[in-house]
Assembly symmetry: C2
Homo-oligomer: 345 residues x 2
C-alpha cells in the first residue's frame, strides 16, 4: 500500500497538529535540510512552456529520499473556475526506489513557499520589525502572513491588491487573527511603514509593483511573484541598492528578479544563497539601514522538506489514504501474476 | 476528484477489455503518436544515479497532454522481496495543467515496453517469422511474447535464463497460451532457430548475452535490457552487422546498445528512429538476409500512449478510484479556505 495524502487528509493533519506548530516544525525541517545543502543532488526544475502557462517537474535527492513535485502555472485558469497553480508530489525511498508518500501539494506549495520566505526574513529582516506589507493578496498571501508570525512579533499588516475582491477575501480570512489589518488604496501606501515587504502578484511580464522611490533604508523585501523567465516585480534600481539572497543560482538567474541583472551586476549584488545564510557562511544584514532582498523562485529542496514533515506527521497521527498503486508480490519477478490469468484473455 | 488507477483497477480494466485487445489498441495508439513525432516536446529522461540503482523522471508533452512517469531500477531489490522496477505516472491537461489520470505504471511499463518492441518487430522482422527467442525470462518476458502474437503468427518460443526458477515461472505463466514452449539449456541453443531474438536481462555492465557467432542472417533482434549507461547485452560485432533502429538519439546514445559505437560508427549503422519507420520515411529490412536490430531503452512517448489508452478505457468502462487530491474551490483564489478555519490554529 502507498500512503496518499488527499486534501481532506491534509486538513485533518493540520487540524490535529495546529497551523502554528506546523510552520514551526517546517522551519526546523527547512533549516536542517538547507544546512545539508551539499548532500543534495540539485538541478534546475524541468520547465515546459505550454500555450496557457507553464508546467514543471521539480526533483531533488540525497542519500535518503528522492522527492519530486509536478506543478503548473496557468494565469488564466481562474476565468474558468480553476486554480492558477495545482501540484502533486511524491517522496520516495532512495534505497529501493519505492514511493513512500504521494501527496496533494497545491496547499503544501503555499505553505512551504511561505515558510521558506519566513526563514529568509528571519535571517535578513531587522529584529525590531512588527509591520509587514503584502502586495498581492492572492492565494499565497494568508500563508505568508501566518508563517511570518512565527519569526517576528508581527502585529500589523498593510496590504494592497489591484483586485478589491482579493483584498476583501484576505480581510475575511485574517479577521480572527488578532492582527491589525490596514487596507491600503495603493501599493505605495502599503509599502510605506512596512519593515518586511512581500510581493506576490500574478502580473505577467516585467512589472514594478514596488517603485524604487518607495523603498526606504532598513526594509527587507521578499520578491515572491517574479518566478519565471520574463516575469519580475521589482525595479532594477532597487536590486542595485539591495543585498540580495537567492535559493539556487542555476535556477534563479533564469527565473528570479535577478534576471534583470547582467552577470557582472549579479556577482556584485547577489551576496549568496539561502543555505549560506542558514549556515552562517555569509553575512546578511549588517546594519539597520541595509536594504535586503530575498529573491524567491521556489526550489525543490523546499518540497523535499515539507514532504518529509508530512510523512513524519502522517505516521505520528496515522493519517492518510492507503492505495494499492505499487504491486505487492510474493515473487517480485512474477509481475504478470498481478493480472491473475487475464494476461491470456 | 482525480482518477487514480490502482493495481486492482488495472486488473479489472484488462479483464474487461481483454489483453489481446489491449495490445492491439496500444499498438494503434503508439502508431498514432509516433506518427505525430514532431508535435511532441522531447527531452532525455532525468536520471538520478543513486547508491543501489537509478531513479528517473520521464516527461513529454504536446498541445493536448503532458505526461510523466516516475520509475526506478534497483537490481538488488529482489533480495529483499521488492520489485526491481516500480513506476507511477500521470497524464495532465495542457490547457489547464490539471492532472487527468494518476496511474500505477509498474505493469503498464511492462506492457508498453512489450508493445513498442512488437511495433518495431512488426516493421523490421521477416514476414514469415513464427519462432521467437526470449533471453531473460524475468518480469518483462511474458509481456513481450504476448505482444508479439499480435504482429506475427508466432507459434514457438525458445527461451533461456541463467536462473532456472525464472524459466520455470515463465513456463507456468505461458502454459495455457497454446504456444510451443522450448526450454533451452543455454543462450546459444535458444538463439538457434529464432527469427525474432529478444534479450531482456538484468545483468549489469557490458555483457554479451548473445555472441556474434550465433547471429544468423535474416534475424531481427530486440535489445531491451541494455538501457542505461554502462549496461549492454549485445556484441559490438553484431551492432556492426545490423541495421539499427532506435527511439530517440539524445537518450539512446547514452543508454542503449549503441553506446558501444563511436559517433562515426553510429552514423553508419543507426539507420533511423522508430518514428521514421512508422511513417515510412526510412527503410527497415531490405532483404530476407538483413540483420535488423531494435535498440530499445524505453522512451517517454510510450508512457504517453499507454496513459492515453488507459484514460480512454477507464472512461469507457467507468473504472478507477476517484480521490480529492486537487482542490475544488468555489473561489479558485481562496486557497486557504481549504483548511476550513484551521489556518489560525
Amino acid at each position: 500500500m502507498t500512503k496518499i495524502i488527499t486534501i481532506p487528509d491534509l486538513k485533518k493533519l493540520i487540524a490535529k497538529h495546529g497551523m502554528q506548530a506546523f510552520y514551526r516544525d517546517l522551519l526546523r525541517y527547512l533549516k536542517e535540510d538547507f544546512t545539508r545543502w551539499d548532500e543534495f543532488h540539485k538541478i534546475p526544475r524541468i520547465a515546459a512552456h505550454v500555450p496557457n502557462g507553464i508546467i514543471e517537474l521539480m526533483p531533488i535527492w540525497d542519500d535518503r529520499y528522492y522527492s519530486y513535485k509536478y506543478v503548473n502555472g496557468h494565469p488564466r485558469n481562474t476565468a474558468s473556475g480553476h486554480l492558477t497553480v495545482v501540484a502533486t508530489g511524491c517522496l520516495t525511498d532512495i534505497a529501493t526506489g519505492y514511493p513512500l508518500l504521494l501527496s496533494e501539494m497545491t496547499v503544501l506549495t503555499g505553505i512551504r513557499t511561505a515558510a521558506t520566505t519566513a526563514l529568509a526574513s528571519d535571517l535578513l529582516a531587522r529584529r525590531d520589525v512588527t509591520t509587514m506589507t503584502v502586495i498581492g493578496t492572492g492565494a499565497q498571501s494568508e500563508f505568508l502572513v501566518l508563517a511570518h508570525r512565527v519569526i517576528r512579533p508581527i502585529d500589523t499588516i498593510r496590504y494592497f491588491d489591484l483586485d478589491p475582491e482579493a483584498m476583501h477575501r484576505f480581510r475575511k480570512n485574517m479577521q480572527d487573527s488578532g492582527l491589525h489589518l490596514i487596507e491600503c488604496r495603493c501599493a505605495e501606501e502599503a509599502v510605506s511603514g512596512g519593515g518586511i515587504i512581500t510581493t506576490a502578484t500574478a502580473a505577467p511580464g516585467h512589472q514594478e509593483v514596488v517603485k524604487d522611490a518607495w523603498v526606504k533604508p532598513g526594509v527587507h523585501i521578499n520578491g515572491i511573484g517574479g518566478d519565471s523567465p520574463g516575469k519580475t516585480e521589482l525595479a532594477l534600481a532597487t536590486l542595485k541598492r539591495a543585498k540580495i539572497f537567492i535559493e539556487f543560482m542555476p535556477q534563479t538567474q533564469l527565473e528570479g528578479e535577478i534576471q534583470q541583472l547582467t552577470p557582472q551586476e549579479r556577482s556584485e549584488h547577489v551576496r549568496g544563497e539561502l543555505w549560506e545564510l542558514v549556515t552562517n557562511q555569509k553575512k546578511g544584514r549588517e546594519s539597520n539601514d541595509d536594504i535586503t532582498l530575498y529573491d524567491s523562485v521556489g526550489f525543490a529542496l523546499e518540497d523535499y522538506s515539507v514532504l518529509r514533515l508530512v510523512r513524519d506527521l502522517s505516521q505520528h497521527y496515522d493519517i492518510g489514504t492507503d492505495l494499492p498503486i505499487i504491486p505487492e508480490l510474493s515473487d517480485p519477478k512474477d509481475l504478470i501474476s498481478l493480472l491473475a490469468g487475464h494476461h491470456l484473455s
